[in-house]
């Protein structure tokens, strides 16, 4: 895997909110086609990290390098970065005044100025994959949480991003809807999509990831292949954290 081309590099990243430092000099590298899962206690900075990669937060120090250039470079437009890096949020915010199809097409048509025919076909194909072909004319209020989240994933994929970030996408869902969303992500992993996934679903993390990062206090404390990190964590912090998930 490490022979693959590097798509994203996080270098010595710092981010604070007021007095509190959320990211404390964080480094990591993401390769093309790699699926990295970030785990760690609440408030350790996982979500903030994703938001920094997407430019939704201003960073205080360090750098985020996407395909060779810093996303904070003055010559790089954040809009361009966001077309390459998709993000799916916990709160599955579909645009409430638009149908499913309008939600999906907005970015590709208005931002990327792509051909409507081409994008609609892609959208229908993706909707079919997530099992929601019959929902393209529905409004978000007519859908369940799990369905909305699957649509949000399609909306992000339709932009043809190089990387997709998943920020605890099942945390706000009813338990019986978690599976349908995770299955979609698992499927994307099999197709070789490059992803960074923040989750509290440990079984899923183990199944989907090529590499696990364990974060605490704004740093990566331990990283490794899923079997190693779950089976034999080296650091005390990771051990403690993983123990909480065993009954």
């Amino acid at each position: 895997m490490n022979n693959e081309e590097i798509v994203l590099e996080i270098k010595d990243l710092y981010k604070g909110f007021g007095e509190r430092n959320v990211l404390n000099g964080l480094d990591f590298t993401l390769h093309k086609g790699e699926v990295v899962v970030i785990i760690g206690p609440s408030g350790c900075g996982k979500s903030t990290l994703l938001r920094c990669i997407n430019g939704l937060e201003k960073i205080d120090g360090g750098d985020v390098i996407l395909e060779g250039s810093s996303i904070y470079d003055k010559n790089i437009k954040m809009r361009q970065v966001r077309q390459k890096v998709g993000i799916v949020f916990q709160s599955y915010d579909l645009f409430s005044h638009m149908t499913v199809m309008e939600n999906i097409l907005l970015g590709p048509l208005k931002v990327q100025k792509r051909d409507k025919q081409e994008v609609s076909e892609l959208a229908r194909e993706l909707l079919k994959k997530v099992g929601l072909s019959d929902r393209e004319n529905d409004y978000p209020r007519q859908l369940s949480g799990g369905q909305k989240q699957r649509i949000a994933i399609v909306r992000s994929l339709c932009m043809n991003p190089d990387i997709v970030l998943f920020d605890e996408v099942t945390a706000a869902l009813d338990p019986e809807m978690v599976r349908e969303v995770l299955d979609v992500i698992l499927d994307l992993a099999k197709q070789g999509l490059t992803m960074i996934i923040v989750t509290h679903e440990m079984h899923f993390a183990r199944a989907v990831s090529d590499r696990i990062l364990f974060m605490d206090h704004g740093k990566i404390v331990e990283e490794g292949e899923p079997e190693d990190l779950f089976g034999n964590p080296k650091t005390e912090r990771a051990k403690q954290f993983l123990n909480k998930f065993d009954y």
Binding site: R82, F89, H97, V111
Partner: protein, 218 residues
């Protein structure tokens, strides 16, 4: 019995409706302009610049604190005198009502835009929308549902407040009514008719605002 009882209304209907035309001219023109200027003012109020924030805040509060009557007098008497220009009561009224409408409309727009969920905006940004696109495709269509009911109820307030323009010599429906009363002494029927007119103008708007609010809430 020509000019007594309910007949007084029918006999003077032309002159009363003529006044009503003036009332509506002032209210509708001011409201129409305010809708656009208010949008601009609402966006200004959301500025992060502290000076802009302070100035827009003072402007809004000035219209909330100082009675509209005082504004009308200032514009009709003092400003023409100091600036050496002569303006009619109608123009002064439209200017003052538009300035007031801009302030109130701006506050409605600001409230509506600020009440949109942060998630909707971040979702928009995350698919690469520019600020203008975000406004056109996400913020505006969602905010308009919260703006329209507020704008309608501002409209009813404005129609009612036009009754003050009689004080700067504008011949509105109230002024016409008073003229008829002086001539016929039929205050009961004339004021009753004015009551009915204002009710007929404002109540349907009031119902419409409530209906839209309920419809769009879901």
């Amino acid at each position: 019995m020509q000019n007594s009882g309910i007949n007084v209304i029918f006999n003077n209907i032309g002159i009363l409706l003529d006044g009503l035309g003036n009332t509506l001219l002032i209210a509708v023109t001011s409201l129409f302009i305010s809708f656009f200027t208010g949008f601009g003012f609402g966006l200004l109020r959301m500025s992060k610049n502290r000076i802009v924030k302070l100035l827009t805040y003072i402007y809004l509060e000035a219209f909330r604190i100082i009675p509209i009557m005082v504004w009308l007098f200032s514009f009709f008497f003092f400003i023409p005198r100091t600036l050496g220009i002569d303006i009619s009561g109608e123009v002064a009224a439209i200017v003052v009502f538009t300035m007031w409408g801009t302030a109130e409309m701006g506050d409605i727009v600001r409230g509506a835009l600020e009440s949109l969920s942060k998630g909707q905006i971040e979702s928009g940004l995350s698919i690469g929308l520019s600020k203008l696109q975000l406004f056109l495709y996400i913020q505006f269509p969602q905010a308009i549902k919260r703006i329209v009911p507020g704008a309608i109820s501002l409209g009813t307030r404005m129609i009612k407040t036009t009754s003050l323009v009689v004080l700067i010599g504008v011949i509105d429906v109230i002024a016409r009514g008073k003229q008829v009363i002086e001539r016929t002494k039929e205050a009961f029927w004339i004021y009753g008719f004015l009551f009915l007119l204002f009710f007929l103008m404002c109540y349907p708007l009031s119902i419409m605002a409530r209906k839209l609010e309920r419809k769009w809430e879901s």
